[in-house]
């Protein structure tokens, strides 16, 4: 399924396109704003009222 060399090629293109750009270098900075879940959630907690687990389900809870 995976063509690793193709994957690496696209990765390098993305890296090059981001060189020198003012983008946060840590992915968690994009998504890790919910306390506790560190980006494992859908990233929408702040937009609703759920800053903590109240059944987002990403942990698998019913």
């Amino acid at each position: 399924m995976f063509n690793l060399s193709k994957l690496l090629e696209v990765k390098q293109k993305l890296q090059l396109s981001l060189a020198g750009q003012d983008v946060a270098s840590n992915y968690y900075d994009l998504f890790g704003y919910c306390s506790g879940c560190d980006g494992h959630c859908s990233g929408t907690c702040d937009d609703t009222c759920e800053g903590y687990c109240s059944g987002c389900g990403d942990c698998g809870s019913n």
Partner: protein, 392 residues
Amino acid sequence: MNRETRQRFKSRFLKKSMSMITKKNLTRGVYITTNVTCNLNCVYCYEKDKTSKETFSLEDAKSVLTNTLRETTTRGTLINFHGGEPFLSFHKIRELCEWAWKQEFPENFTFFATSNGTLIHGEIKDWLYKNRKRFIVSLSLDGNEEMQNLNRSNSFDKIDIDFFVKTWPFQGVKVTISPLTIRQLAEGIIFIHNKGFRDIRANLAQMISWDSSSKDIYETQLYHLAQFYLENPNLDKCSLFKIPFHALNSKELKKWCGAGTEMEAIDIDGKKYPCHLFFPSVCGKEKSKHATNINFREIESFTSSECINCPFVVICPTCYGSNYIERGDIKLRDMNLCEMEKIRFKVVAEYEYKRIVLSNEKIIDIPLEERHKRLSILQGLEKIVADIENIT
């Protein structure tokens, strides 16, 4: 990066920094167990005892809120009405909320309830709509009509689904997949997308038995859904497809939620627990009593020796409360779900590969933030390609 994006980053950075310097930055949730009764009997329900007719004490609830809300936090407090079906106690809920809104508590607070939606009509619906900005309701809806009826006591026709979409457009919907509904998983998720929900939080039911035949069905259904998302790239994917592959870059083991660390759940008697699953009403009195001894900060406490060397451990979700209830230890995952999760990692990894690597988009046309996300995903995928290909 545009100004708006920069501002958003700044505010998030600020929140992260503050969380490091103050203990006040707990994500605080007060749980009020309104009643344990429910008008439905869902096939996967974890409530141990639904027979008690007892409902919460208004005086106790007022006392807990008075004590809690006089202390401020940076994020505010979420007051979660927890059932059973909480709206069986609507009149008490309304009285408590209206009392709280009249008090001049220094803390910001919002009321919240997860509901099966079947009672939200007439008077209750009118009141919720009027107070929709300070009382949020999350609907549990398990897919299309047949799925909902199979899992949740023939309740589809009793829910005004559009009301939830229109009243709380940013609130997620909770979808639980059971062995009875897994054959329609893709259809059910697409149905919910078509209903207009933006944030679909789907997961396999825990604390129930999954047999090996479900694995192939799950895989087929996820491939259907992957195809749907490839054909509809602008849709916000359901949570099954939001795997944090970027986390593979650090390999750092993190907890999956704030239970016992960043979050505290306060039961109606004022006692604090790691989360609501540790309440006596949920995990039983004896287990609940011992929950306070658990050290949630040590990796060894929340990751088992069986899982710690798994290449997928940092992307494999788990619910510590469920683990504790079912197996008596927060780190002991449901290994019944292990194979199912690996199937999901494989399908979603392939989906991401197709979406990012086989895309015909020109990089120059992709926004910077999205480029960065894609790069992080590919960096993670690169590390598990061989392991993914070994998943059968």
